[in-house]
Subunit: 225 residues, 2 copies
């Protein structure tokens, strides 16, 4: 469902080109649970942002569910993103002016769901993540781990077809990190395709396949087993 | 060197008081390496911010190197902070308008150090953390782990007497996380007092003592062994 061919990305620094992604060739099938690992600065977050269509400053080809992403305009890309993706950002990107409950409602607002249904879905998510007491607080009133939980909850609340998770457990205690992995495993068994960047071997063990990236190159795992 | 007695902190939420720290009694001796662990929302970051004097909205007593912190004005507290502390924040708090090298120089600027000496210390830090190539970039041009490394480097560059580290390795690969722990161990052997919040058992093993916090209470480890 996700196909990258000869994908390159660089930043211009004065006279030099700093390549962040080099000749990326990658296939991810529907229903796969893939982990992406590698050292700091390898290009993992960058790759996830390309797949999630937040980044269009690259050359090569990207086919998503039959769509040629490199040929689409911004409006169409945003439509596909809102329809199919949930994204857990490495730095969360919660909306500071919205409460926890309002932040969770945002992806539901993109879809054609009745208000009463949306309220029930938000309540269910708050319950599952044990943060009901925080629903009317703002992100800056939450602990680091609580912010991360809200970021994960927001990414999955609308049951998206594709979950992109960039280091979703870095600020959580290991037991809570495992709860998130068990939840991802369940969502994957129910049909979600998951692409997860992680530094944790424990987390990576939940994936069907591990892609190793270093210095912008895919070192192993590019093709489905 | 750090003594907290009957320290309470709460947030007013409508008619209710939400206690974040409850009757904290804690002693940390000079030269100790202490780990603080506990679930999300337990109050760990809050406790570190009280110790580092960024938070003064609490009741009780705090004695730091003989100074009665609860009796000092803001100016005096800031002086003590700049003189004695290095702080690795859970969300880094790098200055977005300064380059990596400029961010590293900030703590040196508080002290009476010659410019040439400061440049050498910044260069040494960039070298040690293998981020020389990033010195003229801004924080938003760095990967998550690179930002964390800069946050750690900034906290230790001026050789502070007390290092407060709030989950200093959450975005790093385990091998790099261990490098940071080995560095902390060395700094501690050279005389630094270290108070580190961590979710990692591996990191906590580097400490002399572990303090467990839950729901604002210290559950164990409050007194030096
Ligand atoms: N401004 C605020 N208003 C209300 N509650 C707050 C505020 N700031 C923090 N809190 C609450 O204080 C509690 C403790 O927060 P703290 O950041 O110290 O937790 P923590 O132990 O560091 O957790 P983590 O491991 O997730 O980083 C949390 O439940 C949080 O929601
Ligand atoms: N705007 C930019 N200008 C220059 N270089 C950049 C810019 N944005 C990112 N980079 C560089 O791209 C590289 C890859 O960054 P990326 O965030 O993808 O790394 P990562 O693999 O996610 O690392 P981490 O595990 O630390 O999160 C880094 O070396 C970073 O410095
Ligand atoms: Mg990253
Ligand atoms: Mg915290």
């Amino acid at each position: 469902m996700i196909s990258l061919r000869n994908l390159d990305k660089f930043y211009q620094q004065g006279p030099d080109r700093f390549y962040v992604l080099r000749r990326i060739n990658l296939d991810i099938r529907e229903g796969e649970f893939v982990a992406i690992m590698g050292p700091s600065g390898a290009g993992k977050s960058t790759l996830l942002h390309v797949i999630g269509m937040h980044d269009t400053a690259w050359t090569g080809e990207y086919t998503l569910l039959g769509h040629q992403v490199h040929k689409l305009d911004r409006k169409r890309r945003m439509e596909l993103y809102k329809k199919y993706f949930g994204f857990v950002f490495q730095s969360y990107h919660l909306l500071d002016d919205l409460t926890v409950a309002e932040n969770l409602d945002v992806p539901l607002g993109y879809r054609d769901i009745r208000k009463s249904e949306r309220q029930a879905m938000v309540a269910d998510m708050l319950d599952r993540f044990r943060i009901v007491g925080k629903k009317d607080l703002y992100p800056n009133q939450l602990s680091g781990g609580q912010q991360q939980l809200v970021a994960v909850a927001r990414a999955i609340i609308a049951n998206p077809k594709v979950i992109l998770a960039d280091e979703p457990t870095g600020n959580l205690h290991s037991s809570q990190g495992l709860e998130i992995m068990e939840l991802f495993k369940q969502l994957n068994e129910d049909g979600a395709t998951i692409v997860m960047v992680t530094h944790s071997e424990t987390n990576a063990a939940y994936a069907h396949r591990i892609i190793q990236i270093a210095d912008g190159w895919i070192e192993s795992g590019a093709n489905a087993a």
